[in-house]
Amino acid sequence: MSAGARIQRGIAILVRQGSVILATIISLFPVYFMLVSSFKTKSEYIQNKWGLPSSLYLNNFNTALAGEKFFIRFANSAILTALSVGVSLVIACLAAYAFARMEFPGKDTLFNLVLSLMVVPPVVMVVPLFVSMVRWGLVNTYQGTSIIYIGLLLPFSVYMMTNFFRTIPREIIEASRIDGCTNLGVFWRIMMPLSAPAVITLVVVNALWVWNELLIALIFMQKDSMKTLMVGIAAMRSRNYVDIPATMAGLLIATIPIVIVYLFGQRYFIRGLTGGAVK
């Protein structure tokens, strides 16, 4: 390799590393900023905004947890997430089994129709849904709000599970049929155990979605004791504006579950969120 070529190669590596590192710094800075700020006192935050904290001031976490009814909000988010993700998973798997392994008239049309609902913005349904929820007394209830989440999660879930079920070889199903398995038996004893990776992916992605959701929670969980974590956080902007470190501590607690799950189950996130677009 000549000296010129070596220099050229060096520059190429420098340009690549340089731009990727810059992008990484920009990507991570807000997370870093949240992390360091949540351990600073108010006065230290004002003097030293981006540096590391001089000592770990843990009182912010006390303030955040007590001041914003954190535990109730956390529990509300967790209940809604578990309920919506669990129920929608069962419903989606049943429907996906029909789409993947049964014949019925209008199958493709119905599938495409369900698929297209994936991109309908929730804000569009909010007004009529609110009218009916008020009529049935389902505002400020877990069941009412999770019904909405279940509906919104279904299109993507059905799509993903159908695609996965289609990859399970027909021979396995035929074989168990001959052994006397009913459709429900095949579904429960063959399809579901084989689908564990797809199910985990789906649960992770859907849980993330419900956990992070704001608009529906804002409208359908208005009562203070029913508010979710994200609604509580959105309200912090106006209320806790002066105590930025305490707010940051609250944000940190709300974000940590996501980051931990992501670091351990990264491939599920990536597979789930890019699934369908990449074959």
């Binding site: 190429a12 690549r16 731009s19 990727v20 990507s27 991570l28 807000p30 997370v31 900023f33 949240m34 700020s37 905004k49 929608s88 419903i91 049943l94 429907a95 029909a98 049964m102 014949e103 019925f104 495409n112 369900v114 297209s116 609902l117 991109v119 309908v120 913005p121 804000v123 569009v124 349904m125 909010v126 007004v127 009529p128 849904l129 009916s132 019904i147 279940i150 509906g151 919104l152 279904l154 001959i178 006397g180 459709n183 704001l214 608009l215 409208i219 994200m230 956080i233 959105a234 912090m236 902007r237 930025i244 944000l251 709300a254 974000t255 980051v259 992501y262 969120l273 677009a277 990449v278």
Partner: protein, 323 residues
């Protein structure tokens, strides 16, 4: 067992199906099997259909009806296109539409950045797996949390301006979210920050499924870096780029509520008002359900167009995959 089933399934031409369903069922049930086979899929689909009719079907129908009505002395009365006409004279609504369209400008920027980063990572630069993890992280964080952090970063006395002052760029230390002029571009930056990682991971995943020989062949033919990207990478990524573009355009037009609600609340002076926030304010703050419905219908029409587009693209892709 096959001989037994073929005897009982004489008038059924599809013997294999008989075997499947036959098995140990007692004879008296046989005549009802055909009916059962027709009914069974719908039993599996029923829970989904009920949920979807409740969450999508009914609201969408009722929305259209509401949008042609007004509440007059306590009763919803049909008023034709009045709500729609009122909308197009409403400055706030028009501003919201304009802002949504402005946000679409971020899409080509995102595609470009994601493409560059994905290609660099694909060239297996040192630590590419770590970079992939970190670049994807923003996409997972709640917009509510991110929005709040950024609103502190972009404060007039926030960390960004302190940094700019430190390095002597005082003239750049602006009131990022507090001025009508810069609030929307600042919002755009945050949206790009959050969504670009999705593009990177998407493009990278697709690139890794392209056969290496394609790149090697081009290199042997003496293609330089730009030629390689333009002639191999971009065409190979065409379908995912299309997908990402359509999804992002839909996002900019109808999924930006969280950003705006948390960071600016539509202000200052409606400079960051978007249609979703307009629906929310009309419906739930000013109690104008009918106006809110009319906006929703318009929003639905716009996204409907893109859904149609996406389905067409998808149909094209799957056809290409089959062949």
């Amino acid at each position: 067992m096959p001989s037994r089933t073929s005897k009982s399934g004489l008038n059924n031409p599809d013997a294999s199906l008989t075997i499947r369903k036959g098995g140990g069922l007692p004879l008296p049930y046989r005549p009802r099997k055909k009916f059962w086979r027709k009914l069974e899929p719908w039993l599996y689909l029923a829970p989904m259909l009920i949920a979807i009719l409740f969450v999508f079907g009914y609201p969408l129908v009722s929305l259209i009806i509401l949008s042609f009505q007004r509440r007059l002395s306590g009763v919803n009365t049909f008023v034709g296109l009045t709500n729609y006409k009122a909308l197009f004279k409403d400055d706030v609504f028009l501003q919201a539409v304009k802002n949504n369209l402005m946000l679409v400008i971020t899409v080509p920027i995102m595609v470009f950045i994601a493409l560059i980063l994905a290609v660099f990572l694909f060239e297996r630069i040192r630590g590419w797996q770590l970079y992939r993890t970190t670049l994807f992280l923003p996409y997972l964080l709640p917009i509510t949390v991110v929005g709040l952090i950024f609103s502190y970063i972009f404060q007039l006395s926030g960390v960004l301006n302190e940094f700019l002052n430190l390095i002597g760029l005082n003239f750049l230390a602006l009131d990022w979210l507090g001025s009508t002029r810069y609030a929307l571009p600042t919002l755009m930056f945050v949206i790009i920050w959050k969504e670009v990682g999705f593009g990177v991971v998407l493009f990278l995943a697709r690139l890794m499924s392209v056969e290496e020989e394609l790149f090697d062949a081009a290199k042997i033919d003496g293609a330089n870096w730009w030629q390689l990207q333009w002639n191999i990478t971009v065409p190979q990524l065409a379908t995912v780029i299309e997908f990402f573009t359509v999804v992002s355009v839909i996002t900019m037009l109808s999924w930006v509520f969280n950003y705006v609600f948390v960071m600016t609340g539509g202000g200052p002076g409606n400079s960051t008002m978007v249609t979703e926030l307009f629906v929310y304010l009309m419906g739930f703050r000013y109690n104008q359900m009918n106006i809110a419905s009319a906006v929703s219908v318009l929003l639905l029409l716009v996204t409907g167009f893109f859904i149609f587009l996406e389905l067409r693209l998808r149909a094209g892709t799957s056809a290409a995959e089959v062949s």
